[in-house]
Each structure stands twice: as C-alpha cells, then as structure tokens.
C-alpha cells in the first residue's frame, strides 16, 4: 500500500470510529441529560447560589427610643445587604423570631439613646445575630459593627463642629480596598468559572472511561481487537469525540449562561481558551483511560472517577487557593492538570492575558498530558495481553 493510501485508511478509521462514539453518546439519554444539566442549569445555580458576601440579611428592630438618632441608625442598615423585617413590640419577641429562622438579626436600641448622644454621653445598642449560616452571620455582625462605628464617628465630628463626612481637617488613616480584575467583587464570575472547570474535569475523566469500559462490558472490544484497528485507533476516536462534546458543552455554558446572565467578561482570546481547554481535556482523559483499564464495569468506573476526581477538585485550587495548602500537597498537585488550567482559564477570562504569561502553565499541562495519556495508552495496550 502506498503511504497516501495508508493515510486515507487511517483517517477513514478514525472518522468512522469518532462518528460511532458521538452517535452512541447522543443516544445515551440519561448521560446526555446529566451533561446538559451540568453545563447549563447547574452553572447558573452555582453562580447564583454560593454567596459569601452579605445579602438580604433579615433585620428586626426593637426601638425603645423612637428618636431622630435611632431612626438614622436604623436607616443605615439598607439593601442589598440588609432587609428590614419590621419592628418588634417587645425585645423577647426577637428571640422567637430568630428561632423560627425568618430573620437573621435583632437590633435593640435602648431608651434615652438620642438624649445620651446629644448630651455627649456614651451609650450602647445591642445586636443579636443568628449565625447558623455562619459566613452570612459573621459578615452581618462585621457590617453592623462598621455601620455603628461609622455612625458614631460622624457624631463625634458633628459635635466637634465639622459638617458631614468631609474628614479633611481631622487626622485619620483611611483603609480603602481596590480590587483588581473583578472590581465589583462579583462573585458569580468566580463561582461560575470554577464550576465550569469542575464540570469539564469530571466529564473529561468520566466520558472516555465510561465509553471504554462499556466496550469491555459488552464484549465489543474483542471485535475491535481482531479488526485491523491498533489500540491507538480504538482509543483516540473516543478521546476526540469526548473532547468535541465537552468543548461544545463549554461553549454553551460560556456563551449561553455565563456571558448573558452573569456578564462574565472574556478579556483574552477565545480561540486560545478553547485550544488550551482541549489540551486540558485530552490530558485529563488520560486519567480516565487509566481508570477504565483497572475496572470491569460502569459502576466501578464511576466510583473510580469519584476517587480520582474528588481530591483533584478539592486540592487543585478551586475551593481554596493553592497557596494556603501544605507544601507537599502543592508538590502533589503539580501532577494535576487542573492546577494549571485554573490559572489559564481565569487568566484568559478575567485578566485578559495570553500565552506570553501563561506559557509555563501551558507547557506544564502539555508535558503532563503527554505523560498521562501515554500512561493510559500503555495500560490500555497491556490489559489485552
């Protein structure tokens, strides 16, 4: 056979096998439903749902003073951080309402609050916070402390003859935060991006592993092995097909949910993002191929995937920054393609940087991908001998 003929046959084989994988995947209704859910609704829910910033904390007020000052203080607990849930006639009622869980905090203002302030005495207000939802509760307490602090600072300045908030004449150090890349501290951006990365990782391991183990389970792999296909020709189409599907799903998540709903910015090159995503999927698929060689059926491969993917997701820096982890975990995670891909994805989307800054991550991922995939391939060949 001439070289060009061989090439034609090679391409034909890869093409029919890839087509077969896609057909099989599209006909697997439960898996498709899970895939679509994971890249649409679940991205939306996660982006919207996980909140560490204070939002809509229900506030009950027991105002025994009913004065200008008390009203002024209460008005400073405003939306979007707080939600005014009404006044209480008796402070004890507050505990009942907190126990019921409808509201989060009770602000108790004593009698003579205004009088004390005007006459220059110190006074105190009381705040009960239900911190069952601890991040929200702790933030609420912190916000409340800052609001009261600000309020009293302004009172002092008014008393000293200054007007309003112009603090120019008073010696004071201001602490002001500037956030880079995500100035509004829009959490939906980071949460939806990390969720997308999680889903890509899970499917990049699961899909090729499931497809390979299914052939083993049904005995069709035997038929492929006696055909002139080489192990590479059996495995490659699966990875190609699954990569295409995951890239498609990523595009849907990005352009169908994150961009229109959360206005996630795409500051860098979309082409580069998808190119490196493809590289990431292929690298991660190597783990899936390996998983398929040590398992016998789909249930086992599902559990194996969980076992491999869970630490990868937890430790690669999505949930907590890599910098906060023990040194040995950091070294271990050098073996996780996700560790590099997080930097690449957030870098391209939020920072707008390109290969000039990300080359080391891209190269690491490439090297890792070649070795993981090569290892998976070696195991795949070996299991049939």
């Amino acid at each position: 056979m001439r070289v060009s003929d061989r090439l034609t046959v090679w391409c034909r084989r890869i093409a029919v096998m890839t087509r077969k994988e896609l057909l099989q995947l599209f006909r697997d209704i439960p898996l498709m439903a899970f895939l679509i859910y994971s890249f649409t609704l679940s991205v939306y829910v996660t982006g919207n749902g996980i909140q560490t910033q204070l939002k809509n904390a229900g506030l009950l007020v027991s105002d025994a003073d009913r004065s200008v000052s008390s009203r002024e203080l209460i008005s400073r607990f405003h939306s979007p951080y707080f939600r005014f849930d009404g006044e209480l006639t008796h402070p004890n009622e507050g505990f009942v309402r907190l126990d019921r869980g409808g509201s989060m905090m009770v602000l108790d203002i004593p009698t003579r609050f205004h009088e004390a302030l005007v006459s220059g005495e110190s006074t105190a207000v009381q705040l009960f916070v239900d911190t069952t939802n601890s991040p929200q509760g702790l933030s609420a307490a912190g916000y409340a402390a800052r609001i009261v602090g600000q309020f009293s600072q302004e009172l002092i300045m008014t008393r000293n003859g200054q007007t309003g908030s112009s603090s120019t004449t008073v010696p004071m150090i201001l602490s002001d935060h500037r956030v880079w890349f995500n100035q509004d501290q829009n959490e939906t951006w980071f949460e939806s991006i990390s969720h997308l990365l999680r889903m890509i990782t899970i499917f990049a391991v699961l899909l090729p592993a499931a497809a390979l183990v299914r052939e083993k389970e049904r005995g069709t792999v035997e038929q492929l092995l006696v055909s002139p296909l080489t192990p590479a020709q059996i495995m490659l189409p699966k990875v190609v097909a699954m990569t295409l599907v995951i890239l498609g799903a990523t595009a849907v998540a990005l352009f169908g949910v994150m961009l229109p709903v959360f206005s996630v910015p795409i500051r860098g090159s979309v082409a580069l993002l998808f190119l490196l995503t493809a590289l990431f999927i292929v690298a991660t698929a190597g783990i899936g191929v390996f998983a398929s060689t040590v398992t016998k059926n789909q249930a086992q491969v599902g559990m194996m995937t969980l076992l491999v993917v869970a630490p990868m997701l937890l430790l690669s820096g999505i949930f907590t920054p890599l910098e906060t982890m023990p040194v040995w975990v950091r070294y271990l995670m050098a073996l996780s393609p996700l560790r590099y891909f997080i930097e690449i994805a957030t870098g391209i989307l939020l920072k707008g940087i390109g290969l000039e800054m990300l080359w080391s991550q891209a190269l690491s991922m490439l090297a890792l991908g070649v070795s993981l995939f090569g290892f998976g391939m070696w195991r795949f060949r070996r299991q049939f001998q």
């Binding site: 049904r218 005995g219 055909s227 002139p228």
Partner: protein
C-alpha cells in the same frame, strides 16, 4: 428404526396422579411487551416437566411466577392447591419449593466455599443440623464435589458451579424443584451428571421438577413438556405425543453437487439441512420406503448415496411446528457471488500451538488444518481451550509456542495482515446495540478501510444475504436474536474475508433462526470457498461441520468428520441401545449392577452402549424380568455427537486417573 406406539408414560401411571402445579390462562406483560400470552399447564407429582424454547419465549417469566417471585397479569397459578396470587399466598408455598434461577451460579456467593454455600442455604431453610450433615455428605458425593469442599465457589468450573447450585436448591428437600436453564453453557459431561443426579433424587424423594432448557436435544429427557415460542405453547405432552403431532420421516443422504441437490429437494420439502456432506430432509411420508422414493424422484439425475430414513427428532418436530405457525421460512436472496482471486493453500493451519497462563497450560500442542470451503468445528467444554486457540490465531493473544498460518499469513510475524483477511464473530455477537443496522455495517466497513463505493455495495449485499430488509434503520437492541446474529455475521463479512472465525455464535437463537444461520454458513463455504472455524457447545449443531476436533483440557483428543467419529465410537464401545421399561429407576439400578457400563436414564428410557446388541438385549431382558421389571422395547438408536463427546471425555478422564494411580504406585 422406529418406536412402537407403546406408551412411555405408563411409568407414571402407577403413581398417584396428584397435580402439583396447575396454570391456566397465564398472561405476563412487561409494560407493552407481552412475554407470555395464555399458557395452560399441569404438572403432576413425581414427573420432570420440561419447558423448551429459545430466549425470550417466556420460560423464565412462567417459572418465576410459579416460584412466587413474579406477579402476573391474567390467569391463575396454583401450586400445591394454593392459589398463588399475592405475596402472602406465595410465602405459604415457598418452603416447599426450591428455585434455581437462570445463570451459572448466580444464586451462589462467589467468595464462600462450597461447604459454606450449602450451609448457608440449609440454615436459611432451617434444615436441622443432623439432616444437613447427612444430606450434604450424600449430595457432595453424588456430584463428585466432595474433594472441593473448601474451594471458593468462584474458582469452580461452570459445570461444578451448576451442580453446587443444584445442591443448594435441593438441600431442604423441596417437593417441587424449579430449575431455570440449569444446563445452559455447561459441558456435555457435566450435563449428563446433572440429569442423572436429578433423576435419582426425584425417584428417591418423590420430588417433582420443572426444568427449562434451550437445548432442543434435551427434550427427550422430560416425562412431559411444553414447547414455548413467543409466549405461546406450540406443543405439549409427552415426547412421543409431541412427536406424533408431526408425522413424517427424516431422510439422510449424500449427494453431489450438494447445492443443486438442495435446490431440487426443496421443491418437495421446506425442511432441508446440510450437515457437512450429508443432506437431511423432512418428508411427510411416514412409510420409510415412500419417503426414500420421494427423495430419489425429486433428485432426478443426481443419485443419492448412503440413503437412510429415520423418525424425526424432537427438534425437527419443533421446527416443523414453528414453520406451520410462521407460514414459511424467512427467505433470503443469495446475492451474486463476487469473484475473488483463487485462494491456494490452506485457510488455517495450526502446528503445535501452546499457551501457558502462569503454570497453567491452557492450550497444549494443538495442530489442525482447515481447507478453503470447509466448515471446521472445535468442540469442547467451557475452559477446554477453544477460545484461547481462536485468540492466538486471530492475533489477540501471543502463543507461548508453536506456529500458525491464517489466510496465507504467518501468525507471529504478520498479525496485521491476518486481521485484515479474517472475519470474526464472538458469542456476544459484538454489535453496538445503540446503533442501527446500517450504522453498524457502515462502522465495520470503515474499520476495514472500505471506500464509499465499496461500502454501499457491501451494505446491499449484507442486507439481502442476511434478510435484513425492513430492519435497516432499527436499533440493534430491538432486533430479535436471530436477526441480530445474522447482522453480526454480515458485519464480520463486510470486507469479504477468506477465513471466518465464529466463537459460539448461536447461543440463545431459536431453532429456525439457527437453521437459517447454518444455511448461510454452508453457502459461504460451498459457493465462496470461505474457510470457517467454529466453536460450539451445542452438540446437535456440530453435525453441520465437515470436520470436527474435540478439545479436552487444552488438547485435541479426537478428530474426524462427524460420521467418522461416530463410527469410531461404535467400533470401540458399541451401538446405542434404548430400553423402554415400566420401572425406569429400578431397571437402571439392576442394569448397572449387572455390569452394563455407561447405562444412564434418559427421560423415561435407559440408554446404554453395547458391542453385541442381540446378546446384550437377551441378557438384559432376563436380568430385568427376574426383578419384575417389564421390558417394553429395546431399540438401536443412532449415536449422537453428544454420546461421542461424553464417551471420549470419560475415556480420557479414566486414562488420566490410571496414569496418576500408576505414577503413585
């Protein structure tokens, strides 16, 4: 050689006619699919009642409902006079039932030892400890499992697992044993063991058994039976009664050219089978001479050789009944033969093939040759090494030693070339069930590198050859087993291979589908000169092969054409005598005591081998009548390949034991 009209059923007449199970108007649906539609059946105390039919005929649904583990939609099921219509009703009869579900050892615990499994089932059924010890000892001895008491169940062979399954089902001595396909996938020797254990226990304990099977040749082992097809009873009664439903004769002869002969006899009969060089034709004439004459007439100027007329086997009867029901045999056109370059030399040659797995020698110096246009059958039990031989020749497994050539290419150096020249079809049919018929064919066309033009041509050829018209865009999972099987064959033939490997390709297919499949195979061999290597554990199918090799423990222990192999056994051990008596159990005991070796119970009759039939018959009659057993009939039956297989394997086993003893001494 035909049986007299004597009633074989008289053996049961002497016993009580208690009804154990009574089923009427039974209907079971799975969503829209009707699995069983209107079955009536009555099982009497002390009989082995058979349910026969292919996969999906509704056997398992019926058996599960009788065992009280499956609800049903219409009709009534009464067991021991109790109407089983609710879980509470089922609980009342469960203690008196033993149920062995389908699948080798599926009811057993793989990690428990043989003894632990038995103990578990006995304690589950609250068998008193003393009874347990006594029964266990006896059953283990009967099944020859006593040497393996401490072996984990997962390390037993298929036949041993099934025998253990039987022990666990019978340890509480149920009055009714329900056994779902207990012999499927079990080698013929273990299968015979299984039947004789069952017969003995039934006799002794007055047990009743309901047994299903997909092997048509086991039908004659039942006292009475129902033949199921697509959820309906096609025929029922005793084997003799069923046989009487389709009066006729089977004419067997050799004729060349075979294909012309087939075409000519087909005008007078719809049931024509090619068994190697032989043709087997069903004729409606009951008088042997008339049937023979009809064949000679229809053949015209072709002269039949070795012509012989027998009564139809039960399988022939079933096929005839199915054909009556279906109207006619699904016809497929044989598309024009594509002329390929002539193939010189052998299709397959194996020389001293050896394969070791660790210290275990799976294949031991296996040599054979397959010529182009020949159907070569490799027979053997599970684990005999058949599949490993195929795996070596197809290049999946490298051999430890020996040489092999396939389609002119050397096995070790030209594995790639071999793969391009062979077709392969495995037990599981290896199709993608979630792809349609056409998608499957196109996939394999692409894998073998066919271009668009060639693909379209072959697609048409396969569709008409395999009779797939109308199924083109159906998902493979929705196809009946027979169609699925022919599609798998089509996919294996997509690239016009010169050599075809078939690894147990006919499991679970109904008899008509199986015959159709064999039709295609013999045309492939005869017309296109394809060399075919096939493995099977259906002994009746082995008759279709031109040449057989019998494997045992990794070695080929016998080789030859089916006819040669039978003649050889007849020469060494004698002819098969079938003895009908009024007390089969008693007769068997007496015959064994009197030194008739190899005597076994076969339904209500006794089978034994005899080198001198007239003298042995006389001796047997004297022995039995002195014991008050009335001998109704003694007939010489043709040997089946199963008889050959069992004889050969037992012989090898005995020789091995002798050498072991010799070495020890």
């Amino acid at each position: 050689m035909r049986t007299g009209a004597s009633s074989q059923y008289s053996a049961l007449n002497s016993q009580h006619f208690d009804t154990v199970v009574s089923v009427s108007g039974f209907v079971k649906r799975y969503k829209k699919h009707v699995a069983v539609q209107g079955v009536d059946m009555e099982i009497l105390k002390g009989e082995i009642y058979g349910l026969i039919g292919p996969d999906g005929a509704g056997k398992s649904s019926l058996m599960k409902a009788i065992a009280g583990v499956l609800t049903y939609d219409e009709g009534t099921v009464e067991v021991f006079g109790t109407l089983v219509d609710s879980e509470r009703a089922a609980e009342r009869v469960k203690q008196r039932i033993g149920f062995l579900p389908q699948g080798l050892g599926l009811n057993l615990y793989p990690d428990l030892s043989v003894e632990e499994n038995i103990d578990f089932f006995a304690r589950l059924r609250l068998v008193p400890e003393r009874d347990l010890i006594e029964r266990k000892t006896r059953l283990l001895a009967m099944t020859r499992l006593d040497k393996f008491r401490d072996r984990a169940m997962k390390n037993l062979s298929g036949g041993m697992k099934q025998k253990l399954g039987l022990i666990c089902t019978l340890i509480h001595e149920p009055e009714l044993a329900i056994l779902d396909e207990p012999t499927t996938g079990v080698d013929p020797v273990s299968r015979r063991d299984f039947w004789s254990i069952l017969a003995e226990l039934l006799q002794e304990k007055g047990m009743t058994a309901l047994v299903s099977t997909a092997y048509m040749d086991e039908a004659s082992r039942f006292h009475r039976l129902s033949f199921l097809s697509s959820g309906k009873v096609v025929a029922s009664g005793s084997p003799t009664e069923v046989q009487a439903l389709v009066p006729g004769s089977m004419v067997t002869f050799e004729a060349t050219p075979q294909l012309d002969a087939i075409a000519r006899v087909k005008t007078g009969s719809r049931q024509v089978e090619a068994l190697g060089p032989l043709l087997r034709v069903f004729r409606e004439e009951t008088v042997p001479a008339a049937a023979a004459q009809a064949i000679t007439l229809s053949l015209g100027d072709i002269t039949p050789l070795h012509l012989r007329v027998d009564e139809p086997e039960l399988e022939d009867v079933f096929v005839a009944l199915l054909l009556r029901q279906a109207g006619q045999l699904l016809s497929t056109e044989w598309p024009p033969v594509t002329v390929l370059p002539a193939n010189h030399g052998l299709a397959i040659e194996a020389k001293g093939l050896v394969r070791d797995f660790g210290t275990f020698r799976a294949v031991d110096r296996v040599s054979f040759q397959v010529k182009p246009g020949e159907i070569f059958g490799l027979l053997g039990a599970n684990g005999a090494g058949k599949t490993t031989v195929i795996k070596m020749l197809t290049g999946i497994t490298p051999p430890t030693g020996g040489e092999g050539w396939v389609a002119g290419a050397e096995m070790k150096t030209a594995g790639g070339a071999i793969k391009e020249r062979i077709g392969y079809m495995s037990q599981a049919f290896s199709l993608y069930l979630d792809l349609t018929v056409v998608e499957n064919i196109r996939l394999f066309a692409g894998i073998y590198g066919l271009d668009a033009n060639a693909t379209d041509q072959r697609l048409k050829w396969i569709v008409s050859m395999a009779g797939l018209k109308g199924y083109e865009s159906s998902l493979t999972s929705r196809l009946p087993m027979g169609v699925r099987q022919r599609l798998a064959l089509g996919c294996a033939l997509v690239h016009q291979p010169r050599v075809l490997f078939l690894d147990e390709p006919t499991s679970g297919v109904d008899p008509i589908g199986r015959r159709h499949f064999w039709d295609i195979l013999s045309r492939l061999a005869r017309e296109e000169g394809v060399g075919i290597l096939i493995t099977t554990h259906y002994m009746s199918e082995a008759e279709h092969c031109d040449h057989l090799a019998l494997m045992y423990a990794g070695r080929i222990v016998a080789e030859g054409s089916p006819g040669d192999m039978k003649r050889q056994v007849e020469k060494e051990a004698g002819q098969l005598l079938e003895v009908a008596t009024d007390q089969p159990g008693q007769a068997l005991r007496r015959a064994t005591q009197a030194g008739f070796s190899g005597a076994a119970l076969f339904g209500t009759k006794i089978h034994l081998l005899s080198l001198d039939p007239p003298q042995d018959e006389a001796r047997l009659r004297t022995v039995l009548s002195s014991d008050g057993v009335h001998v109704q009939d003694v007939l010489i039956r043709p040997l089946s390949l199963e008889d050959v297989f069992v004889y050969r394997v037992m012989l090898v086993e005995r020789q091995e034991q002798a050498t072991v003893k010799g070495a020890a001494a």
